[in-house]
Assembly symmetry: C2
Homo-oligomer: 404 residues x 2
Amino acid sequence: MSFVKANGIVGQSGGPTAAINASLCGIIRGACGKLNKLYGMENGISGLLQGRVVDLSLLFNNNMALSDLELTPSAALGSCRLKLPKDFNSPIYSKIFEILEKHSMGYLFYIGGNDSMDTVAKLSAYSKEKSLGVSVIGIPKTIDNDLVLTDHTPGYGSAAKYVATTVYEISRDISAYKLPSVTIVEVMGRDAGWIGCSCALSKHVFGKGADLIYLPEGEFTVGRFLQDVKNKLKQKSDVLVCVCEGVNLGTRAEGKDPFGHVQLSGVGKLLEGEVKRKIGCKARSIELNLPQRCAGHLVSGTDIDESVMAGKYAAELALDGVSGKMVAFVRKSGEYGVDLTCVDADLVANEIKRVPRDFIDSENSYITQKGIDYVLPLIQGEKNVKYVMGMPHHFEIEDYLCTK
Amino acid sequence: MSFVKANGIVGQSGGPTAAINASLCGIIRGACGKLNKLYGMENGISGLLQGRVVDLSLLFNNNMALSDLELTPSAALGSCRLKLPKDFNSPIYSKIFEILEKHSMGYLFYIGGNDSMDTVAKLSAYSKEKSLGVSVIGIPKTIDNDLVLTDHTPGYGSAAKYVATTVYEISRDISAYKLPSVTIVEVMGRDAGWIGCSCALSKHVFGKGADLIYLPEGEFTVGRFLQDVKNKLKQKSDVLVCVCEGVNLGTRAEGKDPFGHVQLSGVGKLLEGEVKRKIGCKARSIELNLPQRCAGHLVSGTDIDESVMAGKYAAELALDGVSGKMVAFVRKSGEYGVDLTCVDADLVANEIKRVPRDFIDSENSYITQKGIDYVLPLIQGEKNVKYVMGMPHHFEIEDYLCTK
């Protein structure tokens, strides 16, 4: 049941980032003039299954809208978390491909993380098995930077820039007083400490920033942490510690709130309590939380440009009939730059890329020069964010498209 | 013991802000050509008492350094929290004025909040009582905006812009999914909810942002909060709540951590727990924490310009022999603008200006048009922050001055 394939469709999936719309933008720009129509699924595959699609072709030649979209954080099309079943006999597959056929969609783009690459691999395999001829291409996206087979992922550079800047600003703030104090900044990174690496940048460049950095990949004990902090307090009064949410505490991070209920506490808050009790000085913890992935006002120019490139390249690949692949970055040697390539989506699916051991120092409490050299180029460059009434102006899908 | 007064000195005190260095910059610019030398006290009055002063005259004609200083967050001179004794017989007073005399300092500028205005009032009163002829001028500074007798305070506009932007970005992030969820953003404001007012701006301008806002000035109960959230969940899936740290919970915000120790919890975390238990949907809390006062990369142009103006005006006042006064803003009627004036520092000292009742709606769960009209002009305008190696470049006092 091969069908006419004049059109394409794109979806966004998983946790949003500050660059996921830049990749969407790249696909729209890449498809313009090549595809008759490009549709967007609202809330990824979940929305597609409900027939919720919008006509993105309306943006094809609207440069102003596309520029706005490029710098708008979060997922303009909405996102979902839906894992497709293993069994191709599931009616979910026939339903998806019926919708594609109905709209003559021969090209499916899915922007997401390792779960989304699982979706790409499965849809591509199904299309091949049934000889449907649909090209399915994945575009990587995650601030966690934990996808294998690519030098880094779109979204990571902007998160790293936001974290590097915020850690620098916090280090200045806490240096205003002369009293001994310990400030603990908790950053994202449940399984992999890539964002933690960016905490080392301001000290490297300006001499001010994190004094200690702990990643999930490094050995960690509360006792050792306290000893590290005590040692730093002998050298300076305002000690700044950065810790990834996923460091192994050796205890479940649970406490009871004033109503007597069990409460999940972040690692930062727990270590703050330990410092207060065991060292006795002023301590504060700061969880950077969601702004790490949605601070569109402070994006990395490199990240945004590469995210657009990845989207454009995905359009090229699809039009060349490639399927089941994810766009990937290969870092050039010498001066920073990337070459685009593609890798099998099923090799990326469900895998996690961890920070290499040689990015972490022998004390497990800081980032090595190698780690700094890896992340520093990714935060370079700024974008001119448009401000309206004192706040960044974002793309609003409702302004341009109606659901059809 | 009146003495030669060719020189001046300036100090910064209390919690730093993103605009406190802009006021310092204004004083330096205002003193240039008028005073022989301008000194800076390191860590405020505490540092002065230890003789830790730097020669700021070295910056008099260094426009590049001053431009950097203007956009550098935190207190470049360092800060302190020291309350002067009531008794003028305390040796602390004679010591301070001995130092002033030694350096021929006839003009003392102190940038700070209501505790600092207490210092200004006392030093001025002491100088008058002893006929020492030192002009002591206060320059307001606090992100909390809770100083009386001024329309608003330097530092507040930048904090408000950061919070308005971040709340807007978070609202976009959480709207990516279709599942019911409640996100609680905790902002600063222990006694007064001025920062909470800025949480209403993005919804007002762009239609996306906080759905519910609670200030310390409004009546608050957990039961009422839960009912408000339930009502919002009937209208939309992603409910965003902003709450000031100082809302009255009717219980002490204490819990026990996994090690069995008492832990202070923020109001956001507590309400998150209540939503999970009583409503049962996904809930998350985000404490914006220190970045609210130190995010130099996202300052309000209006705030920075006014902070510089306040510093310059302070220099004028001091040179005119005024003493014991704090610079204040009077808002013009019609199109936004401010006139500068000065008020008695002792009337500002130790007082707190609360958000007026008519800025809060009758349900105690949002900001009125009057509140929005008050804060919106204060976040207008952006500054061209200089980036070096992907991070904002900050002024480093060590690059220009040596301690003397």
